[in-house]
């Protein structure tokens, strides 16, 4: 008898909160496109009528044509690949180091006492201001660019790993202990998934910092890369190539952010349930 009453408990009603994805109404979405389109059209018009001098700012259509030309002859591809390699290598080195140190500082009291103070001190240094020192240390070659990216990526990942681990509800760890989970199993089932949202945030900030570091790094004696392409074009007053470089940087940032968002949505499905209630 008690079973039926329990199954039909009235609290079921509140439970079935509908998961309605909040989409903007189509009309509003289109309205948001209007001003960027008007701006680009105005730019095109100003350049075409000679209001804007071509050497100051070429028309967007000219930039696209240049982009098409440079991708067809392979120039853009080579430079893009080099830039991506630098960003990838720097992110990997800085990110793994940050992950390791952040985990040690977040999990162990000794690690916290030993690792966190120097990192907090170093955080105050603007890493792009370290360029002169880095040139003396590692030279002006490839290692400079990779070091800069690694430095830029390190801090956001370190701090978010640390905070992600620290913010885990101690009561959940306790509950896992009463379920017989050992140290390693608690790391796998409680700490890692609990810190994951924070790790994603750190990664996104790190990727942003990586592109920024790359922009600066590639302007120091580079022979390849998008930054080099832009610096070289400046010397020959090829403004269209400079603008193209900027566009590529922007697109890289946009694409990486989008990819990460998609990955995040896939791996953190449970948070959507959280928002629904």
């Amino acid at each position: 008898m008690s079973r039926t009453t329990l199954v039909e408990a009235p609290d079921e009603v509140t439970a079935a909160a509908p998961v309605v994805p909040r989409r903007q109404r189509p009309a509003r979405r289109w309205r948001r496109v209007v001003s960027p389109v008007v701006l680009v059209l105005g730019w095109e018009l100003a350049a075409r009528t000679g209001l804007l001098a071509a050497e100051k700012l070429p028309a967007p259509s000219d930039v696209l044509v240049t982009g098409w030309r440079l991708s067809r002859d392979g120039t853009l591809g080579i430079h893009l690949l080099d830039s991506l390699t630098r960003a990838g290598a720097g992110l990997l080195i800085g990110g793994l180091l940050a992950l390791a140190l952040g985990t040690v500082a977040g999990l162990l009291r000794l690690g916290d006492d030993l690792v966190d103070p120097p990192v907090q001190m170093a955080r105050m240094l603007p890493h792009l201001g370290l360029v002169p020192l880095l040139i003396i240390w590692v030279g002006i070659g490839e290692s400079l660019k990779i070091s800069l990216v690694a430095l830029g990526a390190f801090f956001p990942i370190y701090f978010n790993t640390y905070a992600g681990i620290r913010d885990i509800d101690e009561r959940l760890v306790e509950a896992a202990r009463t379920c017989g989970l050992g140290q390693a199993a608690r790391l796998r089932h409680v700490v890692l998934p609990g810190a994951l949202p924070s790790l994603f945030l750190g990664l996104r900030l790190a990727i942003g910092a990586a592109w920024l570091s790359l922009v600066v790094g590639e302007q120091v004696n580079a022979q390849t890369g998008i930054g080099f392409l832009m610096m070289e074009a400046r010397e020959f007053s090829q403004t269209d190539v400079v603008v193209l470089g900027l566009l590529v940087y922007a697109l890289l940032g946009l694409i990486s952010d989008l990819a990460l968002r998609i990955l995040e949505r896939r791996m953190l499905t449970w948070r959507r349930g959280l928002r629904a209630t």
Partner: protein
Amino acid sequence: MASRTAGHLSGATPVLTAHAVHRAFGPTVVLAGVDLTIARGEVVALLGGSGSGKSTLLRILAGLDGEASGEIVVHGTAAVVFQEHRLLPWKRVAPNVGLGLSGADTDGRIQRALAEVGLADRHRAWPAELSGGQAQRVAVARALVREPDLLLLDEPFGALDALTRLRMQVLLRRLRAEHGFAALLVTHDVEEALLLADRILLLDEGRIAADLPVDLAPTRTPDDPAFGALRRHLLDRLGVPTT
């Protein structure tokens, strides 16, 4: 499960013995030598005012407090249900119930445990999609699936609304009748203690101040005059004045 417990240990062995349990937070002594025995299949309620140390005692018995002293022996397995459900938000209901579970047919055991708390159809839900009562039932299933000899319940229904709490109490009585587990129920609710327990302990000033058997008919209702008398007696002991 009742046969399993009867099989591997004689009925005389208590499922839990605690001796001289002591715990202080700085200069404040919370538990000043608590002795406690729970027999196999016995449900004991631990009553006390807020701050009397009843939750502290339960945490010590659950092995969650490394800084307490005293001797604690648990014969068999124990499982804990906390006041909050403490389900992992990133696991669906079924993996939450089966957390740390090993052995044959875990899926079947999880499904049976969920069916017992009336939530068989919610095994794919995220904890955030459940109501408070449902989440707490999942927490009960998570404890049940381990087939514990002793269930440690830390105000398990304290955060629920009055109606849901009554349903949970009925559920617990039914599960207890089916499985025959022993339980220590920490509560501040005198009626809950009287409805569920075979014996009531009063915790006061860090010691067990009273140990009262509950001699009531198996089908207990608060309307029973004996129930009312016992309730009054307990409230007196807890220092709640008569109006």
